[in-house]
Symmetry: C3
Subunit: 349 residues, 3 copies
């Protein structure tokens, strides 16, 4: 980890330092655990006091903050500046280029310049690793797999045959890309006959996939993950799914076969999407929602089954009132009966 | 990928070709992405127009279709015929028999004829691999594991000691079969003491297990997966579970300890079953259902907590009407109060 | 598996044998599948008849049981005694100490006495394995990883760089500890920029982690799993999470970023916790609960969204009555209308 002055950091972040230019910053941290020579950040004026009361040496703040009890760096987007500052202090460690002698590399494999292939990696025949690719220890790449420039594949990943991964992707440990889709035909005697899954998976550029995800290959075409989409851990993607660009897929989401997810959609944690549905562009599926129908673009859904989020909130509020309403209903019936009784007597009288 | 004539394909599928017998088919695809020399299929008369309007050269259709604007192959079960045709065009690639020199094979291991053991596989002592077994790269088989004829274990699978896998099974990448069941005794000071899990797992014949599933070993006996059952990805099976034959377990299902699942049951995506319950033969647990009680044979349950599916649908429909009903309830009370007020005045008057 | 007399077992368990002291016990099992020379257990008087009717040779029972039709061993805690007896019959098999010649060990790695490093293990630079550690086949430990005394890491685990694991932990196959947390900043053009995750993970002593779990490293500090906490399979832990001591985290639970879980909490199967929440000490989150707010200490929550369990049960009971209540509501309105009509006529008359 390097040490930089307040001024140096401000320059690298395109921000403006207010405070002692030569102040030495030796680390970076959230305000909760910042040490005395750490830089931290406050996303908004509201969060500034917490950062000011922390032990941090200086704070990255929005442009509208003019001064502080602490040295500050004013930036357009403090969270983005914080991300950039993290890169300054923790520059990505790249492993040595070269193929580890214990790696097993198939016939006709093309390996670009600067590629790292770690210990005990297994690469099938006719695979292609473009320039700067990192394939870490104990990963298996099948025959004819193609990996684009500067993609990082962490230890213990499986990429089945013929899968294509784009440029600058990151695939975390435990992922399985290109296993067979779940396709069976039920025979007359109740047993299931496998439908061969002869398609593939295409991961476009700048995709990140968290640990232990599973993305199945298509039956005949390709399961597609669009450019810039980010997956958290333990996500399931069925066969023939097409996910758009710049989507966010949070942990433990399940996407059934043949679903289409539009660009910029957000699927929050543990959400599930039934098969053959379409999630519109820019839509948000809230955490744990169970989507059983198409979701229009730029809408928010939640609940089980999922419905428009506002409707779901109204339904939840209503359900909280239900026990009381049932009591009220009984009470009304009794009052009604009393009236009926009285009117009957009046009628008789 | 081979190329075959319409007539050749029809013969191999036991179907009847109507159209130019020598028409050359070079591939197979869904109708959405079929090319001009591809074969596709239509499951029913309703789906025929879409296939007819596709670019496909020919269509597999049900027997009752007599003609089409495209060459057709009439079969009893188009989806099954499609599965078989996929096998014709994409015959399964079997790896070379033999043990890769980088594999580490324990003492007293029995290896049958035609077995493939891939690079960096690790096999414990006294394991048995029957005829035609494929164990792909980077897989770990524990001591005394037994694998039946022609089973395929994809790269990066863990099979713990003494687990038995039947014939013609397929286990996908990332699966863990036979890890310890989740068993602890709470001690007086609040800490947990491990209950040793000394049982095992038995996977019967013709089972397929998707990527990144976890099937725990029993405490003292065996967790059992019955013949012909198919698992999708990321499924959790607790210790002492017994799953019947020809079940379908969709992605991200969780089956708690000691559950019994009857033959032919279907557990849809993200369903969960609480411990010690019985899911009856032929029952269907709908997607995301949270089963908290036994499910009778041949019934369908859904919801959280799960109940009979029709009841759940009625409850959902009712809950949609609840906000309006609460308004109506208030309105009725006001009307009732008006009547009461009037009767009181009448009484006084 | 050893064979022991009833008396020997009772002595080792600190229990009292009632029956033939020299009775030879050759195994141990649940009562359902006990053989004629097996020991089994009954947790309470209620469960004793089932154990008595089993084929078992003898039964571990609570102290308050004075006699039985079978030989018994009276103990304070039969389930704990059963766990201990399992250890007697199935003593843990420890692999040979030593580093397998196929393991790839980085520069400056410190390895304590009695350590086992299995085949095809890959260990990064400057890692430290304390005394008695077992690292099984095909596991990857990153640079500067530290593993405490007697911890067991099963085959095919990934521990990313700088993660620290305590003493006597057990990590099952397929786990990924220390992959990047899910942190991105949305840029103006809708694409996402990665926030480097430069923190780490600390697993304290006596933790067990089931198969295929994913525990992410913190953004700048440490994701922490407290001493004695036990994880089932396929659990997701986001970045910056702090889990207390002696917690139980059942299969497929998802814990979002920055959540704090208090000591002794229980998160049951498939539960989900939204980000930045606090689960109080000793709280119980029921199976499948979707927690969207803080949970006070020593409370029980369930439902989606989660609420106090009793309230949730009342709500469920009420919702069962809703369809009937809607009918009743319509009926009341008709009766009310009849009264109104009559009063109108009376008024006119």
């Amino acid at each position: 980890m390097a040490a930089l002055t307040l001024k140096q950091i401000a320059e690298k972040l395109g921000g403006e330092a207010i405070g002692p230019a030569e102040l030495l910053i030796e680390g970076i941290s959230s305000y909760e655990s910042a040490g005395e020579s750490d830089l931290t950040y406050a996303d908004s004026r509201r969060l500034l006091p917490a950062a000011e009361q922390s032990r941090a040496a200086a704070v990255i703040v929005p442009r509208e903050i003019e001064s502080s009890v602490k040295p500050i760096i004013r930036t357009d987007n403090p969270r983005l500046a914080f991300a950039r500052a993290l890169e300054l202090f923790w520059p990505r460690r790249r492993p040595q280029p070269g193929i580890h002698p214990t790696a097993v590399v198939g016939a006709g494999v093309e390996i670009g310049p600067g590629v790292h292939v770690g210990p005990h990696v297994v690469i099938g025949d006719a695979a292609k690793l473009a320039s700067g690719v990192e394939v870490h220890a104990l990963t298996s790449l099948g025959d004819e797999v193609e990996i684009g420039d500067d993609t990082v594949i962490y230890p213990r990943v499986s990429v089945y045959h013929r899968v294509r991964v784009g440029k600058r992707c990151i695939i975390h440990s435990g992922c399985v890309v290109g296993a067979d889709g779940f396709g069976f035909v039920r025979s007359d005697n109740g047993s299931y006959i496998k439908v061969p899954q002869v398609g593939t998976v295409i991961i476009e550029d700048d995709v990140e996939i968290g640990a232990n995800c599973a993305i199945d290959r298509a039956t005949t075409d390709a399961t597609i993950v669009g450019r810039g989409t980010k997956f958290d851990n333990l996500v399931q993607v069925g066969h023939n799914v097409r996910i758009g660009r710049h989507c966010i897929i949070v942990a433990q989401v399940g996407i059934s076969g043949s679903v289409v997810v539009g660009d910029g959609a957000v699927l929050a944690g543990q959400a599930g999407i039934a098969d053959h549905l379409t999630i519109g562009e820019g839509a948000t599926v809230c955490a744990r929602a169970a989507v059983m129908g198409n979701v229009p673009p730029h809408t928010i859904v939640s609940g089980y089954p999922a419905r428009p989020h506002k409707e779901q909130l109204r339904a939840e509020a209503a359900s909280l009132k239900l026990p009381e309403a049932l009591v009220e209903l009984r009470r009304l019936r009794r009052r009604l009966e009393e009236i009926e009784e009285r009117l009957k007597q009046d009628g008789r009288g």
